[in-house]
Amino acid sequence: MTEEIIIAGFGGQGVLSMGKILAYSGVMQDQEVAWFPSYGPEMRGGTANVTVILSDERISSPILHEFDTAIILNQQSMDKFESRVKTGGMLLYDPNGILHHPTRKDITILKVEGSRLAVEMGNPLTFNMIVLGAFLKAKPVIKLENVKKGLEKSLPERHHKLIPLNLQAIEIGQEHLVVVQTV
C-alpha cells in the first residue's frame, strides 16, 4: 500500500501539523513515511501545503505531480490541486469559502464542514483534526489507536491534556463526512 496525499490551505489552518500527526501515526503503524512542506514566506500567511506519503515500501520521490488524495481547505488550493488528483483518486474539501466547487467526474469527491463544526465545538483550533477524522473515515489507512499514539508522540508533553479534545474532533469529523460523488 502506498498513499500519496496533498493537504493544502491557508497558513495557520493547521495544514502542516495535520500532516505531521498523520505522518507520526504512520510511524506508529510501522510504515515508511515522508512529510514535505512548502516552506518560506508561506509560513507568514498565504497558502501552505504539505505532501504526506504513507507506504509499506521504501518511498521514492517526496515531490509528486499527482496524488491519491487531495485535502483542500481553500479556493486557491482547489484551483491548484483539483487537476492533480489521480484518476480514480479522492478529493476531500471543506466547502467554507469555496466559490468554485470541484467539477471532475473521474474522482471521488467528499466534503466535511470542518470550520463550521470546529466553531460549534467551541474550539476553532480543532478544525484540522475534524478534517483528519473525515479523511480517516473515507480512507482508513491508519488505525485510530495509532493516531492516538501519533498525537502523544508529536505533541509536547505540556499539550497532552488536549489529546482527548483532538480525538473528539476526529470523531466528529468521521460522523460528518458527506459523499458528493463516488467513482
Binding site: K20, A23, Y24, V27, E32, V33, A34, W35, F36, P37, Y39, G40, I59, S60, S61, P62, I63, L64, H65, E66, K153, S154
Partner: protein, 363 residues
C-alpha cells in the same frame, strides 16, 4: 536497534552531531537550514555532553572558529546554505591547505547571489571543484534521505579524520525540510584529551611537551619546493580517496537501456521516474552518486558500453553532466535535464524529458 523518530533533515544533523560526540558547532543562521542551530540551541548539549554551540557574528567568523578548534584535534562542524558557504570559501581553502578535519554542511538554495530560499543543487561545481582558491578537494557526501543526513554526519567525521581533510555534506532545501523516519545512534562520548593525544597527537596543537618539536597549523609555505611537496601530498590523498571511498547506489541498471544519473533529492525524484518509465516498457535504471568527490566514474564508464544513453538530472544548469561526460568519454550519448532557481521538477517531468531526449527519433 537505535531510537526511531520522525525528524526533519535539518534537525537530524543537530541530533546526529550531539550523539556522535561532536565537540563544537559554529554557525550563522540562513534559510533553508536554520533548524540545525535552532535544534542545537533547544537540545542544549553543553549541559550534557559538553559540546559547544556558538552563533558567530558571520559565516566568515564561524568557519575560522572551526579552523581553530579543528587545529586542536577537536571534532567540529558548521552548517550553512549557498551564499553562506561562499563567504566561508576562503576559510575552507585554509583548512584544506592546513590539512585539518571538519564537517561542513551545505543545505543548498537557488543562486547566484542571494538567489532564492527554495531548493537547488547549483553548488555542485563549488563543492566538488574547490570553491575556494588553490588545488584542493573536499570529500563530498550527498544525502538523499533524512536517514543519510544522520549517517553522513557520523561517516563525515570518520572520513575527515581518516584523511585530515574537510568533508562536505552537500544537501539541498528538499532534504533539509523533508521529514522522515530515522534511526538514531546511541549517545557516544566525546573524545577525552587522552584519546585526542592518541588519535591526533602527531599533528594537533594540544600542548607541547619538551620531548617533541612544536606542531604548527598553517597553509603558508614560502619555499616553493616545499609548497610543491605539500601539494603533492594533498594530491596523493585525493588519489587515495578515489581508490578507497567511492560510494554510489545503482538501481535497476542490470537490464537498462538508459541510465539516469542524479544525486540527493533529485535521485529520489528519479527513483519514481524509473518506476513510471518501466511501467511504460522503457528500461531505465538509476545511478545515484553518494560521494560527489570522489565521483563514481568507474561504474559509469562500465555501463557506458552497455546502454544507449545517460541522462543527468540536476537542479542546476548542468554541472555534474560534465563529470559524467568525462567518465563516458564519448562512448555513448550523455544528455542533461534540470530546473533552476528553486524549481524542483516532478518525476513525470523527468520521464517526459527522458523520452524527448532519447526516444522521439526511435518511435
Amino acid at each position: 536497534m537505535g531510537e526511531l523518530r520522525l525528524m526533519k533533515g535539518n534537525e537530524v544533523i543537530a541530533e546526529a552531531a550531539i550523539r556522535c560526540g561532536c565537540d563544537g558547532y559554529f554557525g550563522y543562521p540562513i534559510t533553508p537550514q536554520s533548524e540545525v542551530m535552532e535544534t542545537l540551541m533547544t537540545l542544549r548539549p553543553w549541559e550534557t555532553t559538553g559540546m559547544v554551540v556558538l552563533q558567530a557574528e558571520s559565516e566568515i567568523a564561524s568557519i575560522h572558529m572551526v579552523y581553530g578548534a579543528a587545529g586542536a584535534g577537536k571534532r567540529v562542524m558548521t552548517s550553512s546554505s549557498s551564499p553562506g558557504i561562499s563567504l566561508m570559501a576562503e576559510g575552507i581553502s585554509y583548512i584544506a591547505g592546513s590539512e585539518l578535519p571538519c564537517v561542513i554542511v551545505n543545505v543548498q538554495r537557488g543562486g547566484p547571489g542571494l538567489g532564492t530560499i527554495q531548493p537547488s543543487q547549483a553548488d555542485y561545481n563549488q563543492a566538488t571543484k574547490g570553491g575556494g582558491h588553490g588545488d584542493y578537494s573536499l570529500l563530498v557526501l550527498a544525502p538523499a534521505s533524512v536517514q543519510e543526513m544522520h549517517d553522513f554526519v557520523i561517516l563525515g567525521f570518520e572520513l575527515a579524520f581518516k584523511f585530515r581533510n574537510p568533508v562536505m555534506i552537500l544537501a539541498d532545501g528538499v532534504i533539509g525540510q523533508l521529514m522522515e523516519k530515522v534511526e538514531l545512534i546511541d549517545q557516544r562520548p566525546r573524545w577525552t584529551n587522552e584519546q585526542i593525544l592518541e588519535i591526533s597527537g602527531n599533528w594537533a596543537t594540544i600542548g607541547k611537551p619538551s620531548s617533541r618539536k612544536k606542531h604548527v597549523i598553517t597553509s603558508l609555505e614560502m619555499d616553493s619546493n616545499m609548497m610543491e611537496n605539500n601539494n603533492l601530498r594533498l594530491q596523493a590523498k585525493y588519489t587515495q580517496m578515489k581508490d578507497e571511498e567511492v560510494r554510489y547506489e545503482a538501481i535497476a541498471c542490470e537490464d537498462a537501456d538508459y541510465i539516469v544519473v542524479a544525486f540527493g533529492s533529485a535521485a529520489r525524484i528519479c527513483q519514481k521516474t524509473v518506476q513510471i518509465a518501466r511501467k511504460k516498457g522503457i528500461k531505465v535504471g538509476l545511478i545515484r552518486p553518494i560521494t560527489l568527490f570522489p565521483f563514481p566514474e568507474k561504474i559509469i564508464a562500465e555501463y557506458a558500453a552497455k546502454v544507449k544513453g545517460f541522462l543527468s538530472v540536476e537542479f542546476n544548469a548542468g554541472q555534474m553532466v560534465n563529470d559524467i561526460r568525462l567518465a563516458v568519454n564519448g562512448v555513448t550519448k550523455v544528455e542533461y535535464f534540470g530546473r533552476m532557481g528553486g524549481i524542483v521538477p516532478t518525476p513525470d517531468e523527468v520521464e517526459d524529458a527522458l523520452e524527448q531526449r532519447f526516444l522521439i527519433g526511435d518511435l
